[in-house]
Structures are given as structure tokens and as C-alpha cells.
Amino acid sequence: MEILGFALRRLLVAVPVLLVSTFLIFLTVAGSGDPLTELRERQPPVPPETITAEEVRLGLDQPVLERYGDWLTGVVRGDFGPSVNRNASIAVEIGTRLGVTMRFVLVAMLVAAVLAILVGVVSAVRQYSWLDYLFTSAGFLFLAMPSFWLAILLKQGGIQFNRATGTETFYMIGDRSVPPPPTFLAQLADVAGHMILPTVTLVLIHFAVWSRFQRSSMLEVLNSDYVRLATAKGLPRRTVLRKYALRTALTPLITVIALDFTAVFAGAVITETVFQWRGMGDYLLSSINARDVNAVMAWLLVAALAVMVFNLVADILYAALDPRIRHVR
């Protein structure tokens, strides 16, 4: 019950934050340019009646505050408003693209977390060994690499591999081949071939941060009094590491991973662009280019909700694991 109350309090605080942020973002995006620029620039000119009809359809003939009011009441009813792309449904686009992005973001987070824990623990337990130096160097290398650069390098590697082996193992664009391969197994291999490189890009970037975090957390726990006492009492080393040290050292990492979800989501914008996945990142960029206010707002709303949810998850996890947090008033 205490945790439930805590979660409700956090949610109530989040609602006004969300409202203010949508208002500010709406003003910013609506003021960023005219979505009908391309129509107005055409040669031969588009009939003025047609441009007026588009202005009315998109609500551009209304004051910006009224447009925000319409957008807000629409969103409450589940209507994200009209898109600049005349026949596109923003809700359908978001739904489809969210699925595409989550597919590789969740896999990437899971793999990166497992790798980070393994590498972090090994580095801490064997501090200053050659393994520790190797993992530390690799971690800093990937930390320093911009994701677009890493993605390009991986693409080049993929092409070289395909060429050397005469196979079609890795693909450079999209999340599947067109047309799809004829058999189910071939389709599975095809989806995997499209997924490996973008996923590895995200994994390497985030594994680097998280493994450093896990290493220092583990080192701190290993040097604590209760671990030293457990060792002094003659408990087996494996038991000390697994039951005493690792469980405690994982707590901060889980919180960091929950909070980092949005960073992974944001990092996927670049990865999706380089690998041409039609996910949320691609949608954000194309909507900004088209000055599609309603589409950008829908994207930001989903992103803001994701931030809120994962912050809440982080808070709840922390509160569940640390009683001091949930008793704070």
C-alpha cells in the first residue's frame, strides 16, 4: 500500500508537468515554419482555393492558442488531429512505428544489460587484471564513439563480410527484405540479418556506460564491511559474490537502466536513420521536416509518457528496495 500511494503521488505530480511541456512544445513546433511551404512554392502555382482548403484542414487559419486547445481536447478523445500527409493517420503511424522501434530497443537493452553486468562484475572482481584493462579500454572506446559513426563502421564490416563469404548475412536498410524470402526459416534469418547491426550499435553504446557503472558499484560493495565480514566468516567466495555483493550492487544499475530507457529511445533516432528502420525516430525526423505539428506532438507525447512511466518504474524499484525512500514525506 505504501508503494501504491507513492506511485499515485508521483503520477499526480507528472500530470501538470506533462501539460506545461506539451504547451511549450506546441508553441515551439507551430512557430517553426509553414507546413504548406512546398505547396506555395510549386510551379505552376497551386490554385489558391486548394491552399486555403489545406489551411482550414490543418487548422492553420486559427490562432495558435485555439489550435492547442483543439489539439488537447482531441488527444483526450484519442484523436491526434490531422497530419500534413493528407491520408496518414497519426495514431496508426505511431502504433506501427512504436512496435518497430521497441523490437530492437528492448532486445538491445536486454543484451546490453546482461553484458554490462557480466563485464562489470568480472572487472570489479579481477580489478587491475588484464581482463579489467581490456574491458575498461573497450568501454571507453565505445563511450567515445558517436552512434552514427559506429553504425557506419558496422555497415562497412557487414558489407565486407557478405562479400568475403558470398552470402547475404547482413542487410543495410530496413527491417526485412522486399519481397520476403519464400520459406519461414529463410524469413527468420532475413529478419535477424536486418536486426543484428542496428541492435549491436545500440548495445555497444549502452553496454559501455552500464558496465562502467556496474564495475564501480560492485567495487563499492566488495569493499563494504558486511561483505568483508561474510568472507571472514568463511563463506564460499561464490556465495559471497552472488548472494551478498551482486544483489546489492545490482540495485543502482536497475535504476539507471530504467532511467536510461529514454536515452536508448533517443539513440534509436540516429540508428534508425542510418539503417532506415521505419520506427519512431524516423517518424520524428520526417515529421519535423514536413513541419507536421500534430505528428511531432504525438511523438513527443509518447516519448514524454515513456519518460514518466520509466521514471516511475525507477522510483518504485528504488522505493521497493530501499525503505528510506518510501517513508520520505
Binding site: S32, R42, I159, P179
Partner: protein, 570 residues
């Protein structure tokens, strides 16, 4: 499946380095196996003309997914959409790579003016021409296509253009296969009309003119075809897959499948081409992209000059710029070759300053040579700073340390030079012009605009650099750009209006060329706009593909998709 995935690409380590360096803004190409058109010529009708075999799949990447399937609709008239729908819709007339407008021989036996007053054009449809459901292509399709683009026939339809269609008095069809189009008054660019036909029999099942045109055709993926290919599958945001139209009445098509793959970031075309995931791409040329595509061993790149040209315009309504001497001095001091060398010349070395605003070099209008340089000979755009200073001093201006002072002793104010936000080429051009005009004591303040159309149409500029896309027959565009009704520069000239009207209403191509060149010369004399250079069109395709070529007109590269195929022995 005989997909073109023969021997894996020879893709050396050099390209890996190139692409990696591209991230840092530097490129280096190997140049293996490339065929690059030299100089900036129009596209060639016989470029890459080859014997091809039946079968195979080709993937052509385009930068947008179709969100409006009606390319005659205002929001459907997009280059990428045209690429996808060219092989599906029937065309009466097609704009060809050499800037001519030709009748589509697959659909028409003839298209000609049969009476001059009132102008009457007769189209004769081949008897074998049908839609994919077996319905004949007839005068009804011409009539529907006219009606939805004529605001009098359909006031609530939202077409991309009404040009020409609003001049039509009637469209009739005697035996259904002979279409007679009668105009209210002579309409010179009649050949630009009916580039696409919509199926009237399909429209009839979906409401009135406006309902079928604005709603049905815009939202529905065509299950019908009047062209060589039929849409088999559309995966939103991913691809459009086409198969042969079994009832196609022309020659070809040769490929089993034609796939349009959506690639929103053209920079990714390089690795996709190298990995053979796409085989044809028409990206906007940039230095990096051109070099990288040239670096792929088994890919051919072609560049041809297009109908899009960049120009520098002056707002003659500005108090200072209303003086012709000042405008002339500005255009005399601007060095167009220097602008080209620092911008487009980096990847298109043979680009020359453009000498005409209505016709492009090499362009012919119905066989009549149309291009004349009306700019260079008048001393404009040559970077002649001393001559520019003389124009100013002769007119009573003083060039001092504090800048330029007009004949009345008033300092010439700082002028606003506008350019499109995010367009590096136009920003670079603006900076160069700014530096060139400093020598005359003229200060330019550079201001970007994120709504070029509004900025131009409202005259919210002192000087501005942007591009104009001409039609292969430029009478209508010339009227909308230079005529008193459409002018954005504030320059009005009743004599020039008369020439434009005459050009729009005469069917003699020689006279049209003369009149439009008189207009062009007048614009040079009055120093209103300064043409800079033509923007090139870039095409990259796999070496083993035949009949894929640059078409730098509105139709684009897929204008002849039915001829595409794998070369014999390829």
C-alpha cells in the same frame, strides 16, 4: 527468382574509408567503372540504350512513401509519387530527357492540332489500349481528367494545377477512341496537358467528380493500371511492389518485378547500392554523395542538367533598388563563375553560368533552337567590379569608406538577402554575393527563411536566391513569374505582358521562342533577376541494367520503366 544478385560487389577497403570519412565531411572515391556525363548537357534519349532480356527484379529507391495516390491532386503532385505511379498510369504526353514533350506512342496513334481557331486538338487512341480490368481507354478518361482540373467543371476539386484545363471548352469522343479537345482560346502549351489519365469508369463508382477525385483516388492504392505494371503490394513506409500488367498494350515490360523501396535518407543509398539492396537511385547531388557513388565499382553514375535553375532576384519595389542603375551594378559585380566554383562546381566541374531564364542550353521547342544567352553579353554576372563601379559613379553614386551613397546624398541602406533555411548551397551563394557586393560599398544582411513560398509571394526580401523549375514548354511559367499579375519582384511592364500573352496564344514555335527571348532580354536589361546555374540531376544504377537513364524533367527516371531490364549477358 532471377534477382540481380550475381557476383557479389567488388567493394574495396577504399569505400569503407570513404564512408567512414564521410561522417567527418571528407570524401575520396576510387572512380572504378564509372560513366559520368561530361559537361552539363540535357539528358540523352539514347543514353544506356541496350538490348535487355526478360525477367529479373529491380529495386528503385525513392525518398517518400506515397501518402496520396492521386498525383493530379495538389498534395499528390510529388516527384517521388510520380516515380512510383509512372508505370501504372497511362500518359497521353510524356516529357522526354532532351526537354521535349512527346506523344506516348504506346497509347496514342496521333496527337495534333486539327484546327487553329478555335484551337482543336485531336488525340487518336490505339484500339488495343485498355485498363487492366479490360475496359478500353477512351475519350471518357480524357473528359474526366479535364473536368477534375477545371474549376468551372468541378469547383471543389483540389488539383495541383488548372493550367490549360481551365481554357478547355469541351472534350468529346466520336467513336470513343478519337478524342477532340476544343479550347476557348488558343493555348500554346497544349502538349503539357494530359500527362496522366485517370480511369473514368472507376471514378463513376465512387461518387461525383469531387468525391472521386479528392477522396477515392487520393486514399486508394490503385488496384487497376493503364500502364506496363500493376501494383501487387504496398507496405506502408517500406515499399511498393509491382508485377507486369497482363493487359499492357505496349512493348515490354521486361522485368518480372519492379520494386520501389522507401529510403528517406539518401546518404544511406551508398551502402544499400554497394550491398545490392537497391539497384537504382536518383538522389539530390551533393559532393559527398557523388564521390561515394562513383566509388562503387559496379555502379554507373550519370549527371545531366535539368530544368531547375538557381537565380538571384531583386525586389524592385525597394526604395533603393527601384533604381535600375543600382540593380545593374549589383548584377554586374556578381561573379557567377566564382559562385559555381565554390558550390555546385565541386561535383559538377563543367557547370557554366546560365544565360536564359526560360530555356535551357540545348533546348528546342518543336525543333526550333530556343536557347540564347541573354545575360552574359549584357555584362551581367561576370564579376566586373570596375564596370559596376563605373555604372554607379555615372549615375551619381559615391563609393566611400562608409559605404555607398546615392545621388541625393543618402546612404544606401543595408539590404536583406534571403535564402532557404537548411539549404547550404544557397547560404554559400549568399555569402559569396555578400562579399562580392562589399566592393561596391553595399552591405547585405543575410536572413534565412523557412517559408520560401510566402517570402517570395509577399515580396518579403530585398535580394533573394532560390530555384525555379521550368516546364519543357515554359510559356505558362514565364507568365506566372514575369507577368505583371504574378510578379514577385515588383517589376511590371505592359509591353512585356503583351509578349507573354502573345506567346501563350500562338502555335508557331518560332514566334514563341522569339517572344520569350524578348521577355528574357528585357528582364536582363532591367536587371530584375540574374540566372546563376542549372541544378544537375544525378542517377546511379547497377552496370548490368539497360535503358535506365536520366530524365531531368518532371517525369523523372521511371518514365520508361517498361524498357528497363537486365542487359543481355548481364
Amino acid at each position: 527468382m532471377t534477382r540481380i544478385k550475381g557476383a557479389r560487389i567488388r567493394y574495396g577497403a577504399a569505400l569503407a574509408a570513404v564512408a567512414v570519412l564521410a561522417g567527418c565531411g571528407t570524401t575520396e572515391g576510387t572512380g572504378d567503372g564509372q560513366t559520368v556525363a561530361t559537361g552539363m548537357q540535357a539528358g540523352q534519349l539514347d543514353a544506356n540504350k541496350s538490348e535487355v532480356r526478360d525477367g529479373g527484379t529491380v529495386t528503385y529507391s525513392v525518398d517518400v512513401d506515397v501518402k496520396n495516390w492521386n498525383i493530379l491532386h495538389a498534395t499528390g503532385d510529388v516527384f517521388g509519387y510520380r516515380q512510383i505511379l509512372n508505370p501504372v498510369l497511362p500518359h497521353a504526353m510524356i516529357s522526354m530527357p532532351d526537354f521535349t514533350m512527346a506523344k506516348n506512342d504506346a497509347l496514342l496513334l496521333d496527337a495534333k492540332v486539327v484546327k487553329e481557331s478555335p484551337q482543336t486538338v485531336e488525340y487518336t487512341i490505339r484500339p488495343e489500349a485498355t485498363w487492366s480490368d479490360g475496359t478500353p481507354i477512351t475519350a471518357d478518361d480524357f473528359k474526366y481528367t479535364w473536368q477534375v482540373q477545371d474549376p468551372k467543371q468541378c469547383p471543389t476539386c483540389q488539383p495541383a494545377t488548372t493550367a490549360g484545363y481551365d481554357q478547355v471548352a469541351s472534350v468529346t469522343g466520336g467513336d470513343g477512341r478519337t478524342v477532340t479537345v476544343t479550347f476557348k482560346k488558343t493555348y500554346q502549351p497544349w502538349r503539357l496537358m494530359f500527362p496522366y489519365l485517370l480511369p473514368a469508369h472507376v471514378a463513376a463508382k465512387h461518387g461525383d467528380l469531387a468525391a472521386s477525385f479528392n477522396d477515392y483516388f487520393t486514399t486508394t492504392v490503385p488496384t487497376w493500371s493503364g500502364g506496363p505494371y500493376l501494383i501487387e503490394q504496398h507496405v506502408p513506409n517500406q515499399s511498393v511492389t509491382m508485377k507486369k500488367n497482363p493487359t499492357w498494350y505496349g512493348e515490354g515490360p521486361r522485368l518480372d518485378q519492379l520494386i520501389f523501396r522507401i529510403l528517406t535518407d539518401e546518404r544511406q543509398a551508398v551502402t544499400a547500392m554497394a550491398n545490392n539492396e537497391i539497384q537504382v537511385v536518383v538522389p539530390r547531388p551533393t559532393l559527398d554523395l557523388v564521390e561515394q557513388l562513383r566509388g562503387i565499382g559496379n555502379v554507373t553514375t550519370m549527371m545531366a542538367s535539368g530544368l531547375l535553375y538557381e537565380h538571384l532576384d531583386v525586389n524592385t519595389a525597394h526604395p533603393a533598388l527601384s533604381d535600375q542603375a543600382l540593380r545593374r551594378a549589383i548584377f554586374t559585380a556578381v561573379d557567377r563563375q566564382a559562385v559555381i566554383d565554390k558550390t555546385i562546381g565541386q561535383f559538377s566541374a563543367d557547370t557554366k553560368p546560365l544565360g536564359n531564364r526560360n530555356f535551357m542550353p540545348g533546348q528546342k521547342l518543336e525543333g526550333v533552337d530556343a536557347y540564347t544567352d541573354n545575360v552574359t553579353g549584357k555584362g551581367l554576372g561576370g564579376g566586373q567590379v570596375d564596370a559596376a563601379k563605373k555604372i554607379l559613379t555615372d549615375a551619381g553614386y559615391t563609393i566611400g569608406n562608409d559605404g555607398l551613397t546615392d545621388p541625393k546624398g543618402k546612404p544606401v541602406p543595408t539590404l536583406r538577402m534571403r535564402y532557404s533555411k537548411g539549404n547550404q548551397m544557397r547560404l554559400d551563394t549568399s555569402v559569396l554575393v555578400q562579399n562580392q557586393l562589399k566592393q561596391l560599398g553595399i552591405t547585405l544582411q543575410l536572413q534565412e527563411t523557412d517559408s520560401l513560398g510566402t517570402t517570395v509571394n509577399t515580396g518579403d526580401f530585398d535580394l533573394i536566391v532560390f530555384g525555379t523549375n521550368l516546364d519543357v514548354i515554359p510559356t505558362a511559367t514565364a507568365q506566372s513569374v514575369f507577368g505583371s499579375k504574378g510578379t514577385h519582384t515588383g517589376y511590371k511592364d505592359s509591353e512585356l505582358d503583351g509578349w507573354l500573352s502573345d506567346a501563350a496564344e500562338t502555335l508557331d514555335p518560332k514566334q514563341v521562342v522569339e517572344l520569350l527571348n524578348k521577355v528574357d532580354e528585357r528582364i536582363s536589361d532591367k536587371a530584375v533577376t540574374l540566372p546563376l546555374y542549372q541544378t544537375p540531376t544525378l542517377l546511379a544504377y547497377r552496370n548490368d541494367l539497360g535503358n535506365v537513364r536520366v530524365n531531368p524533367t518532371r517525369f523523372g527516371t521511371s518514365y520508361n520503366a517498361q524498357e528497363w531490364g537486365v542487359k543481355n549477358g548481364g
